[in-house]
Symmetry: C2
Subunit: 414 residues, 2 copies
């Protein structure tokens, strides 16, 4: 069976492309061209029933991913399902299930079945969970990848860029390795003395991914975990490698995107994005944040909204949300909501700035009604209707104006 | 008596300059040079007893202002005093009292007496409050300015750039006028047919300000109130005028900064800052936000953190916070806190990016302890200690790791 990339390269617009193009400033044919060029991906596992496909890439609306997933300390399917649904309710375009605890298979299957947005996972985790590092075999890793792909997951992170070469580089770092996958693999490499199987046997991963048309997200296992490590040798060496791997995916008809940092000071963001685009043949860039300062645990949805907006403005295509709980604990439902909305704000602000067609229409409409003090319309258009209503209610307004200025409201009369 | 600017021009470092320089990457002499050149201001009313002076401007740490002030609908001195103290507690560098309700004189005097950071006001409001527009005279406006200056206010906003010329320009706008001061003056101009007294008699304002060494903040009465109005003719025409007025202040030994937008899409922020610097002889730029999208009432501390970080990176010097209550109602205590912290994050991220000396030290320190899972130190260094502690507590961790990854914590071992 053909993959989306295969169809795209033949110039055929699939049903998935047509659906995904509906909410984009391009049509299905144009989207197909972007996919064929490797500038966009359309993650759609053939086995994901009821999937509402979306596309990620150049010229398209910036997309937002929400990470959920059980912790070994709080392994609740019910809770994670609620988080996934909350994320979708508040506008996440995709959900990644990063479960580490409880019945991981059951959680993943239930989430794929229960939500209609593309689902991503990091199969590697499951190869390591519950096992001693020394017991994990190459087969465990590939079996896990195969299982996730067969369960209908639309995109998987594979940390194929983490190699033996990285070991001496990360030792020089201020904050070491902060990627879970990167850290597990480096420890495995250090222990076994073997090269990373996900790097060594990358072609095998491509083969598995192609079967159900799973999109690969090449993980940044060496992303910086502090401003001080940003754009360092370890990070750049991995990025270079990811660029090379990305180029091997296309002839195998597998779609690829690239994951990126992390912790990056404001002035290095543009450079990071341009570098990724150049090294990876303009493959979609999927960034985690980036957060622009390390000082604000409890507020990293804000530090990442700043970095995400700037990254997306300069060309990043996919923002992984960061919740207020980041660096402190597993996020709760409210954190998931706050994280999704902050990332959507960042993506939307960037879309306006980079001129994504019609992006500003939403703003122009809400500000039109705001000027008229038409609260009903303002609430209906607000990114979070309930919060806007709650705020106005609790301030106990007495007239049409808000309680900030009362009768001295600037909006009246001019 | 001499003003700070006068001393600076004579090459004399005052006690205020020495104190303000302590927390800056410059010494008192260098600060004096910046003040003499009009590139920095040191708002310090001679009558503000117990003031801990700070400076605002080029090469200095980005400062944050918190607006508080009673509404006609909620005129509580106690509440506003609590807000002022909350703002200072969470690190606001200055507080503006924008009271419109209750005993405005008493609120202002109490706040000046109660907090040690510089206090700003908009005297114009008081000339209009409780009066019919038709009754407000030029004298009312100047009397109000005089009263505020005599009460120890360190900086005042004067909307001297709003003139008759603006009337036809704002009529073409999507969201009209959103500055309270700008709107009051334009209505007054439209009704009386007279020119704006704060423009016409700007020299008189300089005279009053000089007496107690009050810094003028030239208000942007025509700032855009929607993305659609950003960087429009009304805004630019006013900015040009403010630049001319700023140049008249220096020979009168009065310090000046310039207020700026507002609602500005991401890609126009750099241009806005550069324009202000060029037109206003590099006078400090004091921006309200800017917010980078109109769609997020309830989250405008985030939309403004994005814009503020970018503005400060490109050269803005002073960020007026925006709280989550913006566009919805008078902020409460919790909103004040959230607003101050979001703006501080933006300013700090920008300071790192523009290379303010030692700015990144804070980040390097907290990430050092984060890597070591030394929670006590992380909490002590966090921008909001209490929130970080609360988050960790409520997640119910069982070991040294956090509940996100538990024993699979990436920070361990590499």
């Amino acid at each position: 069976m053909s993959t989306q990339l295969q169809y795209a390269r033949k110039g055929k617009a699939t049903r998935e492309m047509r659906v995904a193009a509906r909410e984009e400033p391009v049509n299905a044919r144009q989207l197909g061209k972007l996919i064929a060029a490797g500038k966009a991906v359309l993650p759609a596992n053939r086995k994901h029933e009821g999937l509402r496909p979306i596309a990620i890439g150049q010229g398209l609306r910036t997309k937002v991913n929400a990470n959920i997933g059980s912790s070994p300390l709080h392994p609740s399917l019910k809770e994670e399902l609620r988080k996934a649904r909350t994320a979708v309710k508040y506008g996440a375009d995709t959900v990644m299930d990063l479960s580490l605890g409880g019945n991981i298979d059951r959680i993943r299957k239930t989430i794929v079945k229960s939500i209609s947005v593309p689902v991503g996972t990091v199969p590697l985790y499951q190869a390591f969970v519950g096992r001693d590092l020394r017991e994990v075999s190459e087969d465990d890793m590939f079996n896990s990848i195969e299982r996730h792909c067969n369960d209908g997951v639309d995109f998987i992170t594979v940390h194929s860029g983490v190699t033996r070469k990285a070991l001496p580089l990360v030792k020089k770092r201020h904050a070491g390795v902060v990627s879970r996958g990167g850290s597990l693999l480096l420890k495995w490499i250090a222990f076994t003395g073997q090269e990373n199987p996900l790097y060594k046997n990358f072609d095998y991963i491509l083969e598995i991914a192609r079967q159900n048309d799973v999109t690969l997200s090449l993980g940044d296992g060496l992303r910086p975990g502090s401003l001080k490590d940003a754009t360092d040798k370890a990070q750049l060496q991995e990025l270079q490698l990811l660029g090379k791997l990305a180029k091997r995916a296309k002839p195998k008809n597998v779609q690829v995107m690239i994951e990126g940092p992390g912790h990056v000071p404001l002035h290095q963001i543009e450079r990071n994005v341009r570098l990724q685009k150049r090294l990876c043949g303009n493959a979609p860039f999927y960034v985690l944040g980036p957060i622009v300062t390390d000082i604000a645990p409890g507020y990293d949805h804000i530090t990442s909204a700043i970095g995400g907006a700037l990254a997306a403005y300069h060309g990043a295509n996919f923002l992984c949300y960061v919740t207020p709980a980041e660096h402190l604990g597993l996020p709760g439902i409210e954190d998931v909501k706050e994280g999704v909305i902050a990332a959507r704000i960042a993506g939307h602000a960037a879309d306006i700035a980079k001129g994504v067609k019609n992006a500003e229409k939403w703003d122009d409409e809400i500000s039109f009604y705001r000027k008229k003090l038409n609260w009903k319309k303002v609430f209906d258009l607000a990114i979070d209707r309930e919060k806007a209503i709650t705020y106005r209610k609790k301030s106990m307004p007495k007239g049409k104006e808000c309680t900030m200025c009362g009768k001295y409201c600037a909006l009246k009369g001019l």
